[in-house]
């Protein structure tokens, strides 16, 4: 089955709302797209539509948090992190308030609306804020568990969600652990460290590599901050070669975070797959992924390059 992580977010919120009465949800006139409308239907009293005013929404969420609420402030990633950046930094991050920023329609796969709506810097912006936890789930079940983990963690959390449906990687037996990476596949030749929607694509790439006799380790880094240093070093030691894959600018996101860890702890050759420091454009999500090389073929090509196999 395939489901967009934003859909999973909406469902998880309803489930969470029943368990935790302190959970409140805010949206900025996008509740049908962010799926917070699901929560609004069941808990209208705990839902606040702030209209098209993301800056106001973020700081209102901060005010609610000072009174013991656990606000989930929801809008598109570009507005959550770009439009309201300083509000998030100064009124949520600095006072370390218990606000969860749920940002949907992240990355280029928001698609046709084009570059203005495609957030490719959000991970970078959010991980630069001291104390901010940054989560980028790979599928529906991981999103569900991440939402619960975010609610249990005291402090600001950024959760990056996508518009388009992504294949299921995890089932209900999966155990999400904040700050830990997940080894999905073991292989000695190359490590593919992926996040978000790129995890499923990395698995697909590993299958293709296997057909050519190349054994790839696939790691899912769902928590970009705090990042699982131990696991990253471990797979780098094992393979000596690392590929990162993200639907984000290669500057400031997962690739940078992994490079920071490895350059200090265990320098190895790294290739970063992502948006290569350029703005996106309109197109269907699939076309865009292909255009920017965020495909299994793209990962295979880069894996071979790093292994110096043509």
């Amino acid at each position: 089955m395939a489901m967009a992580t934003r859909e999973a977010y909406g469902k998880a919120l309803v489930e969470l709302g029943a368990k935790n009465k302190d959970v409140v949800v805010l949206d900025a006139d996008l509740s049908k797209s962010t799926k917070t409308a699901d929560f609004q239907k069941v808990y209208p009293d705990r839902f606040f539509n702030m209209g098209i005013s993301e800056q106001d929404m973020m700081v209102t969420a901060a005010g609610l948090a000072t009174c013991g609420k656990i606000p989930f402030a929801s809008t598109f990633a570009i507005f959550a992190t770009g439009r309201a950046y300083e509000q998030v930094r100064n009124s949520i991050g600095y006072p370390h308030l218990n606000v969860k920023i749920a940002a949907t329609h992240a990355g280029i796969t928001v698609g046709e609306d084009g570059a203005t709506h495609q957030s490719i810097e959000d991970i970078s912006l959010m991980r630069g804020i001291p104390g901010m936890v940054v989560i980028n789930p790979a599928d529906a079940e991981e999103t569900r568990q991440a939402i619960f983990a975010a609610a249990e963690h005291y402090g600001p959390v950024y959760i990056r969600l996508g518009r388009m449906a992504v294949p299921d990687i995890h089932d209900q037996n999966y155990k999400f652990e904040l700050g830990k990476g997940e080894v999905i596949r073991e292989g000695k030749d190359v490590a593919i460290i992926a996040t978000g929607i790129m995890v499923a694509i990395a698995i697909e790439a590993a299958d293709k590599l296997k057909e050519e006799g190349i054994e790839a380790t696939v790691v899912n880094i769902h928590t970009i901050k705090p990042i699982d240093k131990d696991l990253i070093v471990e797979v780098a030691k094992k393979t000596g070669k690392v590929i990162t894959a993200e639907e984000h600018n290669i500057i400031g996101g997962l690739g940078s975070a992994v490079a920071e860890v490895l350059s200090e702890e265990y320098p190895v050759k790294i290739k970063r797959i992502g948006i290569k420091d350029q703005f996106g454009q309109s197109g269907s999500p699939k076309e865009l992924l292909k255009y920017y090389g965020l495909t299994a073929e793209g990962i295979v090509k880069n894996s071979k390059a790093i292994l110096k196999i043509s």
């Binding site: 009293d45 209209g51 005013s53």
Partner: protein, 274 residues
């Protein structure tokens, strides 16, 4: 001493503390700190339901100093109220102090919100008021706005939110001293008519002299009695109030007095008849 005289005495002591703090730190914003003293004094020493020995008491009235650069006024008020020792005031802005240049709720006991980035305080106060409504609590939320910060777009987003959600447990007090860093508001970018603007946004608006304790008292009571909408009290104040050479002077927005100026200011404040 009657209530009003007592409030005047406290306000004078707070003004003295502000001058001393900013002089010792050699940094800070005396003008806008002195203009909001009478408002803060009335709130903390007459109107607000707070427990200095239990700063996080959940039923307390809350205050957000949206014009966060007036932090010295709030710190001096909190110390006077007993949240922490008045001796600590001399550590303002110094490395490791619990008194940061702008209010930091993690550092200072009694602070309900971190502020300093203009235009954000009203939204935070709205959040507190919404939580109060949701939990059916009786507490009230006060927010002190600066006039210059009305130029921030977020203020108007928040003004809509407060009216939309009928936040009658919220009172905004505008410390309207007319000056901002680059000059008078009307020259930098006119904010008037404030009264009509807020009314059009769905607020109840009261205009007062922000240094007249009777008027401040009456306005806060009127705000409490107003149902179904938030109230804005436009308090007309004097920037640098109480120190003759600072009054209505743009230059005293963000500069600290030297020793000679400090002595002169103290002399004037002490000589003021209370």
């Amino acid at each position: 001493m009657n209530k009003k005289e007592n409030l005047k005495r406290i306000a004078k002591e707070i003004r003295l503390a502000i001058i001393n703090m900013i002089s010792e730190a050699a940094h800070g914003h005396p003008g806008g700190s002195l203009s909001c003293v009478d408002i803060l004094t009335t709130l903390y020493f007459d109107k607000m339901n707070v427990k200095p020995d239990n700063p996080k008491w959940e039923d307390r009235d809350r205050i957000v100093l949206s014009k966060g650069h007036a932090a010295p006024a709030l710190y001096a008020t909190l110390a006077k109220k007993g949240y922490f020792s008045e001796k600590i005031l001399s550590t303002l802005d110094k490395l490791g102090s619990i008194l940061q240049g702008h209010p930091d709720m993690k550092s200072t006991p009694g602070l309900d919100m971190t502020t300093g980035s203009l235009g954000q305080g009203l939204s935070a106060a709205n959040g507190m008021a919404l939580a109060g409504k949701l939990d059916k609590k009786g507490y009230r939320v006060y927010v002190i706005l600066g006039d210059g910060e009305l130029q921030e777009g977020q203020i108007w987003e928040a003004a809509m939110t407060a009216a939309h959600y009928k936040l009658d447990n919220l009172t905004a007090i505008l410390d309207f001293n007319g000056l901002q860093i680059d000059g008078p508001n009307r020259e930098v970018k006119n904010i008037e008519p404030v009264n009509e603007k807020f009314k059009a946004f769905g607020w109840h608006v009261i205009e007062i002299d922000g240094h007249d304790f009777d008027q401040i008292d009456k306005a806060i009571e009127e705000a409490k009695a107003t149902k179904g909408k938030p109230t804005l009290i436009i308090a007309h104040t004097i920037k640098g109030k109480g120190v003759s050479f600072m009054e209505n002077q743009v230059g005293w927005h963000g500069s600290a007095p030297n020793e000679e100026q400090r002595q002169k200011a103290i002399q004037e404040l002490e000589g003021s008849g209370v």
